[in-house]
Each structure stands twice: as structure tokens, then as C-alpha cells.
């Protein structure tokens, strides 16, 4: 399928380029927007992988909540221009070298193990694979306990964040508090 490959290469490249943007942008806001791009691209890839529910969840949760929080914090702290080089100069090359080493080794490993890019044939999926009812049924039956547990965890995190981010009680409540 030409279209399929095209789709993958387009969004794959988008994800990689945006990921690079996260690391290289001088300004945190640009990093954040790049990350949003990566996430949307990954959501698109989820769609290609027939995980429709996850694709939407990815956008709603990551883009709509997580990244908004980050973007908010950036603009609240108003970190317009951090003084000097945002990178750590002395170790920059060494570190990149190590990361690339990791990349190459694992790439070699993976490709070798799966006989090049040929890989196993893509199995066909049932028509309701990855759709909301399927995943929901799993979540509320087999994985009910983890689901509830994560819910509790999230609640705890929200309360914790509110407490942490709270300024002195006598001060006027600030904006980020409202937003939490």
C-alpha cells in the first residue's frame, strides 16, 4: 500500500523533526510546541496502528492537558530568554555521541533480530480492534483495579499539585492556582 507507507513516512518524519525541535529549540516555548507536534504525529501513527481510542486519548490527555500545563508554566515563569547557552556546552558533544551510540546499537540490534526491515507480516485485526468499546470493556473488566488505582493516583497528584503550587494562604490566589 503506497498510501500507507506515505502516511507513515510523513508522520514519522514529522515526529522525528519535532522531537529534534524539542531538544534543539533555544526557547522553551518552541520546545513545547515542537513536543505538541510530536504528540500529534504519534497520535496519527496510533491511528495507523488501528488504535483509534488511544489516538484521541493521546491528543486529549497529552496535548489538551499535559502540554497545556507545561505551556502555562512557561508563560507564567515568563522565561523569555535564559541567559547564555541553554545547552550544557562542555559535555554537549560527548553526550550526543553517547546517545547516538545508544541509537545505533539498538538499531543494529533490532534490525538484525528482525531480519532487516522485512519483519513479520502484519496480521489482520478484528473490526473492533482498538475502538472505544473494546478498550473500555477491557478497562472496566479485566483491568478495573489498575484503572481505579490510576484514578486514585491522579486525584492524589492533583491535590498534591494544588498544595505544592499554593502560595502563602494570605496572598491573593494567583492564576495558576485557578488553572490547577
Amino acid at each position: 500500500m503506497m498510501l500507507n507507507a506515505l502516511y507513515f513516512w510523513f508522520f514519522g518524519t514529522l515526529a522525528a523533526v519535532c522531537g529534534l525541535g524539542v531538544v534543539l529549540s533555544r526557547h522553551p516555548m518552541h520546545s513545547a510546541i515542537s513536543l505538541v507536534g510530536t504528540m500529534i504525529a504519534i497520535a496519527a501513527l496510533f491511528l495507523q496502528l488501528h488504535s483509534e481510542f488511544l489516538a484521541y486519548a493521546q491528543i486529549i490527555v497529552y496535548t489538551g492537558a499535559v502540554m497545556v500545563l507545561i505551556v502555562f508554566t512557561i508563560s507564567l515563569l515568563n522565561l523569555r530568554q535564559t541567559a547564555g547557552n541553554p545547552m550544557c556546552p562542555s559535555r554537549w558533544w560527548g553526550v550526543v555521541f553517547v546517545a547516538l551510540l545508544l541509537l545505533v546499537f539498538s538499531a543494529y540490534q533490532l534490525i538484525d533480530k528482525s531480519h532487516g526491515f522485512a519483519g513479520p507480516a502484519r496480521p489482520s485485526v478484528p473490526p473492533d480492534y482498538g475502538q472505544v468499546p473494546t478498550v473500555a470493556r477491557s478497562l472496566f473488566t479485566t483491568y478495573l483495579f489498575p484503572f481505579e488505582f490510576v484514578a486514585v493516583l491522579l486525584t492524589a497528584a492533583v491535590i498534591g499539585a494544588t498544595v505544592l503550587a499554593r502560595q502563602d494562604p494570605e496572598q491573593h490566589p494567583t492564576e495558576q492556582e485557578e488553572q490547577k
Binding site: V22, L54, I70, T73, G116, P120, V150, A165
Partner: protein, 104 residues
Amino acid sequence: MITLSHYLFLSMILFALGVTGLMVRRNAIILLMSVELMLNAANLAVVAFARFRPAPASADNGMVLVFMVMAVAAAEVAIGLAILLNLYRQRRTVNADELNVLKG
């Protein structure tokens, strides 16, 4: 033909980018974002594995896992940012290099 390896390779690239970001950047918020990038890369790999499993009948295990990861990531970011805000109020910086009081 797009295979599992393609997805894994992409996932690996993103993960490596995340690691790089974690190591080279100074801004604590960007460190957080790098962690998110790594998590996303892992999610992609998990979903790809779920899709390419020989028996996709029970493949929603992988999706449930990713769902959980998303929730945990959201919690992590909420707490992380709250800590950062507090830190900024007290130290007037989010530069990770200046936050090294815990050194030996």
C-alpha cells in the same frame, strides 16, 4: 510495506532524542518535556507491538498499558510543574544546573 521494525526504529529515534534532551538541556521544564518525549516513544513501541502481535485477540493489553502510562504521565507532570513553580518562587531559577544542593 511498513513493518514493526519501522515503528520500533521511529520509537527509538524519539527515545534517543528524549535522552539527549535530558542530558544536554539546562532548563528543568525542558527536562520534563524530554521525559514526556521518552514516554511517548515507549508508548508508540507498545502500541506497535500490540498491533503486530501474532494473536491480536488479546491485544488490547498493550492499549490499556498505554492508557495507564498516559494517566501516570499526567500525574507526573502536574506534580513536577508544581514543584518547579515552588522552586522558581524560592530560587528564582529553573536552571537544573543551579539546583545542585544535594551534591556530595
